[in-house]
Symmetry: C2
Subunit: 200 residues, 2 copies
DNA sequence: CCTACCGATCGGTAGG
DNA sequence: CCTACCGATCGGTAGG
């Protein structure tokens, strides 16, 4: 692992634990074992670490959903796959996911000298919108085809994202559930609900 | 509204929007229309505002659930009521809920001079644990009575909290859904799931 | 990768 | 409620 990668990894863990604003470059440097000024030989700015984190996980999620969404499957199967994939990615990148979903608001709003194309924040929001839209479309299709109940697809997808994106708050990689199993249980809960139906 | 209340209200909105760490006392003072030093005639510290926010919403949620949990109702009805109540409280205190659920980690860890009883953070965590425990027990009861499917009650309640506590990210008080309606739709989704069952 | 340092800003206090 | 100010800390740069 290069020093640069080490810095990113350490910073991600600290951003997750204490928050982006509450983590100083000196904190990161200390954890890495160098002086704060030396960090700048490997990275351009604190915000660069945040953006790298947010972008990489967003890229991965989007690439995965893009692949799932065009498969020739009924909506319930497709939704299950999308949920399982999403949760697998989150569970395998807990630090990055926690940071991206929690701290994205500290991304640069407007392009500065370092970011003339303007706004990591806006870029991230655009990616998020695209991803959510595709997820919601799967649900909408299921409703239209009569496979799903006539729920509000927007509301349902918001509830679904909420549940999925909170996982980093409690998922234990050392626990008994693998990411895939967790994803499957989650998909079951969201698809079937908790109430047992009578058989008639 | 007293100046003190005004400070708390303004600060809550800013903590929610920018985060606790990224909001300075000078920011708050400016929004209120006074100098930063003058804030300290009404409050003791920045952390006091955070603690007041976290405690008040936790108190309200706990009081409500304490009332619901002992009613003589089947688990599915009880769970629905608990969900609706929870969401009503969150939806009616969007700023406070967002701050409490997002920024609680900046509560004082150990008791300082101002807080000799030791640790708002710990107090908050204890309240959260108590609340979650009672919620989970409703689900567990439903499973044991055969009213619910044999889901993992811990996993289900975590998913449920995740979904409920993300609401402040998108609920629009000016929108068409009242808090009660939102709560009812949410309860439906979690209880029934999205998939339509065949009739045989 | 370090020493030395910059201007800016922080939460909070003294004293009126 | 204000002016004036404290020591601490911030992200980042210069120069080697």
């Amino acid at each position: 692992m290069t020093r640069k990668e080490q810095i990113h990894q350490v910073a991600r863990g600290m951003f997750r634990e204490r928050g982006y604003m509450a983590t100083s470059m000196r904190d990161i440097a200390k954890a890495v074992g160098i002086e704060a000024a030396s960090l700048y030989n490997h990275i351009k700015s604190k915000e660069e670490i945040l953006w790298n984190t947010c972008e990489s996980i967003a890229d991965e999620l989007i690439a995965n959903l893009d692949e799932v969404k065009d498969r020739d499957l009924p909506a319930d199967k497709k939704l299950t796959q999308a949920i399982v994939s999403h949760i697998e990615i989150v569970a395998q990148n807990l630090d990055a996911a926690a940071v991206a979903f929690h701290e994205y608001r500290f991304l640069d709003e407007k392009g500065g000298k370092r970011d003339p194309n303007g706004g990591h924040y806006k870029k991230f929001m655009a990616m998020r919108k695209y991803y959510r839209h595709n997820f919601q479309k799967i649900i909408q299709t299921g409703v239209e085809e009569g496979l799903f109940q006539p729920v509000d697809s927007k509301l349902f997808s918001l509830a679904l994202f909420s549940a999925m994106n909170w996982i980093y708050n409690w998922y234990d990689p050392e626990g008994i559930l693998t990411p895939k199993q967790l994803g499957q249980q989650f998909a079951f809960i969201m698809l079937e609900g908790v109430r047992k139906r009578s058989n008639k």
